[in-house]
Amino acid sequence: MSSDILSLNLRVWRQNGPKDSGGFHDYQLDGVSTHMSFLEMLDVLNEQLIESGEEPVHFDHDCREGICGMCSLMINGQAHGPDRATTTCQLHMRRFEDGQTITIEPWRASAFPVVRDLVVDRSAFDRIIQSGGYVSVNTGNAPDGNAIPVPGTTQEVAMDAAACIGCGACVAACKNASAMLFTAAKVSQMSVLPQGQAERAERVTNMVAQMDEERFGACTNTSECEAACPAEVSVSHIARLNREYTRAALTAR
């Protein structure tokens, strides 16, 4: 790294509300430390915008440690930016060059309408979970934890899938805006675990139906989702979803 301080040209998507057509605005930002996170860089931009009398750029973020799934952003056309297995909040400016132009856009998908600037509405994901992404067990109904043995290897597969943070990068990265990786992660977790067996068939059927209803696109197995996923959820879970879906169709009662 040649310098610890960067000057950047930012092209940022500004859109005043869901009905506004929106467009790119260019901002010059100097004095960016390479130790900053990407969102801290945007904080600095916003402080300067407010001081100059311009409304700050709106973007979603909360935990800033890569787990809540609230931050998003297409950075130079890549969901969560250039680093693998990294959310935007964990991306650091040492990854960028002095004088670089950085284009910043919201997730683009008709199922994720823009709320304002870089903020989108991802409630479609909640509705997919509502359609079956759970084990139907009321509080107080549980047997002793060790009464349900789960082999260590099975638990590892379930945990790999359960690691999904629900950020929507998979949808944003997909040319079809498919939500298959998100949906598959939950279907996969529950279908390998003994706890998920009772609702195994109706879960996958209902979640896929809800995914279609939300107007997410079809999966064409390009694996862009896996490459963009900050939690490194594998497309092998999509394969499992497809098997589960077929199994459910064939064993329908």
Partner: protein
């Protein structure tokens, strides 16, 4: 000096032996007939472990639940970031754990400032929580044979912590969230995301509703109900820099406080010893490294102050493993407050490392030699990965640098044994209440408390309130609703109309610095007195010079922040007042005037064995203190020693 109310607070802890209190109490509480539950409406604010668990469980019972969160989805609440694990007194490893031991450890760990009966109930519920989460499909770590794995954590001498890699909070939260989504699908929960609670509606002294702002449209909404359950987390962001999420705030709790709810022990804050150090002025938050790292990592600084050599060049006999030196029996596993203060002591004395000299080493060299890099990667891989992301250092090769950071707040709204505040109908759960951790929280206990309150306490205790209180229907145009609505509205208007010159963040950062300096790891009478007047000045400047652009008619993140910082500016004064009044050191509250010759915290049980619960008297007015005396019949207070 604060005025003290003459009557002490009644915690309504039931009589009888501690093992029997909760059972008997559950029998004695009034029940709501199953067919009548659908006639009651309950508001739950917040969707973390406490709120998510409460909303799902109450809906399962048949109540009509409205659930609110300020994030875009209930799955985002900051419980999700908890890494290390959750305690349960299962004794699966057969190493001598029991409900009694978990209870004992928690009371002692809290430095004898928690309510015994609540802690015992927490320990009792801990086992049911594990069962419940397993049944939901939470992928806890397993042994090869399929049984649940445990590890030792945060100063416990038994292995009672259940975990999902380094993402336990995420998995437990998703379990509760999925329960909540299931009830939403069934129509028993109405979910309101991107809503921020701005006022509590109190009718004839009883909590009956809330005013929220729809953050997307900017519209204020009135929601009425038969009870309000507040699960809105802690106030760590009063320090600006903390491990809390950016949105965490005190607003909901503070507005309830201003409506009469007592705020208890705000000075009990937890400074977590293992966080990534501050790197610059632009820093927006601090990142915790799970203290499970202390199971295998060794904390040290050079023996020579200001030693300029890189860690790898410092030979073994020139390293000071100061925790192992000072606390031979607990070593690197001493509780959080002790570990944090020890790090401060070394860095204050000039032994700190790194550019700022405000950090200490956490070294895995010996663990890697002993167990192999693969074994270390399996246990801590995601934490090491996160550390490297942030610092660009590889902790497999060079020791991590860590420093304490604000992490959790033990204080909160005062609640009785039923988790009801002094405002009838207002229940407070999880980190937002004050009840279970005393002056210091042990590791892996926050997840346990949130879920205990949400899954296994509120479902019973809310029924007692609903069954025994006259609750006439409250229309949305009730005068109390209108009054609360216009209070929220005028405050928002006030914020956008100041049109000053300084950004909200600049005020927040300045407030954080004042509070960290005067009310962080060490506190003193003179520092606190100065801080109170600085906070007052800053508050005045804020209302004269804050710049909030835009309007309240759409998504306006500056306006959201401004409202939260305005409340922190009022709350910070109470925090300092409480710290000033508590003339002793206990747990996370360390008053420099009260320490032993060896620099350990010195409690003053004769004068301060009580909860200090504060009654609001107006902004800038001295609040009135209500005392709840604490008695320890089962765990006799001793000096906490980890030597």
């Amino acid at each position: 000096m604060a005025r003290v109310a003459s009557e002490t607070l009644n915690s309504r802890v039931p009589d009888g032996r501690i093992e029997e209190k909760w059972d008997k109490h559950r029998f004695n509480m009034k029940l709501v007939n199953p067919a009548n539950k659908r006639k009651f409406n309950v508001i739950v604010v917040g969707t973390g472990l406490a709120g998510g668990a409460a909303a799902a469980s109450l809906a399962e019972l048949g109540y009509n639940v409205k659930s609110f969160c300020f994030q875009d989805s209930p799955r985002r609440a900051h419980s999700i970031a908890a890494q290390g694990g959750i305690n349960g007194a299962k004794n699966y490893p057969n190493d001598g754990d029991s409900v009694w031991r978990l209870f004992y450890d928690t009371v002692k760990g809290g430095d004898y400032r928690a309510r015994e009966a609540n802690v015992y109930r927490l320990a009792q519920n801990s086992n049911s929580i594990i069962d419940q989460c397993v049944a939901q499909g939470v992928p806890f770590a397993r042994e090869y044979g399929g049984t649940l794995a445990n590890r030792s954590f945060g100063g416990a001498q038994v292995s009672r912590t259940f975990y999902c890699r380094g993402q336990t909070g995420q998995q437990l939260l998703l379990g509760a969230y999925q329960g909540l989504m299931r009830q939403t699908q069934l129509g028993k929960v109405k979910m309101f995301a991107r809503r921020e609670m701005l006022e509590l509606v109190v009718v004839d002294g009883v909590a009956r509703g809330i005013i929220v702002r729809n953050l997307t449209t900017g519209q204020l909404e009135t929601h009425t109900a038969d009870a309000v359950v507040l699960c809105t987390g802690g106030y760590g962001n009063v320090y600006y820099l903390s491990t809390n999420a950016m949105g965490c705030n005190v607003t909901a709790a503070w507005r309830c406080h201003k409506q009469g709810a007592l705020f208890a022990n705000p000075c009990y804050t937890q400074i977590h010893p293992t966080c990534i150090p501050v790197s610059g002025d632009y820093q927006s938050k601090l990142t915790l490294m799970s203290e499970s790292l202390r199971n295998d990592g060794r904390v040290w600084v050079p023996r020579q102050a200001g030693d300029p050599r890189p860690a790898s060049d410092i030979p073994e006999d020139e390293r000071d493993y100061y925790l192992e030196r000072r606390y031979p029996s607990f070593g690197n596993l001493v509780p959080r407050d002790v570990a944090s203060r020890a790090a401060k002591e070394r860095t204050d004395a000039g032994f700190g490392v790194g550019d700022t000299q405000l950090s200490v080493y956490l070294d895995f060299k010996d663990a890697i030699v002993r167990d192999g890099e693969d074994a270390v990667r399996k246990k801590y891989g995601n934490l090491f990965h996160m550390y490297q992301k942030i610092t660009a250092d590889n902790p497999y090769e060079v020791p991590m640098r860590i420093y304490p950071a604000v992490h959790y707040t033990m204080g909160g709204l005062w609640v009785d044994y039923n988790l009801m505040s002094n405002v009838p109908g207002l229940f407070v759960l999880g980190e937002a209440n004050f009840s279970d951790h005393g002056a210091n929280r042990l590791g892996a206990s926050a997840l346990m408390q949130g879920l205990s309150d949400g899954y296994f306490v509120i479902p019973y205790t809310i029924g007692d309130h609903l069954a025994t209180t006259d609750l006439p229907e409250i229309p949305e145009d009730h005068p109390a609703c209108k009054a609360a609505f216009s209070l929220a509205e005028s405050r928002l208007n006030q914020l956008v109309s100041v049109k000053g010159t300084r950004t909200v963040d600049s005020f927040h950062r300045q407030l954080g610095q004042i509070v960290w300096d005067s009310c962080g790891m060490a506190r003193s009478q003179s520092g606190l007195t100065t801080a109170i007047s600085e906070i007052r000045d800053l508050r005045e400047q804020f209302w004269a010079d804050v710049r909030v652009l835009g309007t309240g008619d759409n998504l306006n993140q500056s306006l959201e922040k401004a409202g939260r910082v305005a409340d922190f500016l009022e709350f910070a004064e109470l925090l300092a007042t409480d710290a000033l009044q508590r003339e002793e050191s206990c747990g996370g509250h360390f008053r420099e005037e009260y320490q032993t010759a060896e620099g350990e915290a010195q409690r003053r049980d004769d004068e301060f064995m009580h909860v200090a619960a504060w009654e609001f008297q107006g902004v800038g007015e001295v609040p009135t203190m209500h005392k709840e005396p604490l008695t320890f019949e089962n765990v006799p207070p001793t000096t906490r020693s980890y030597k």
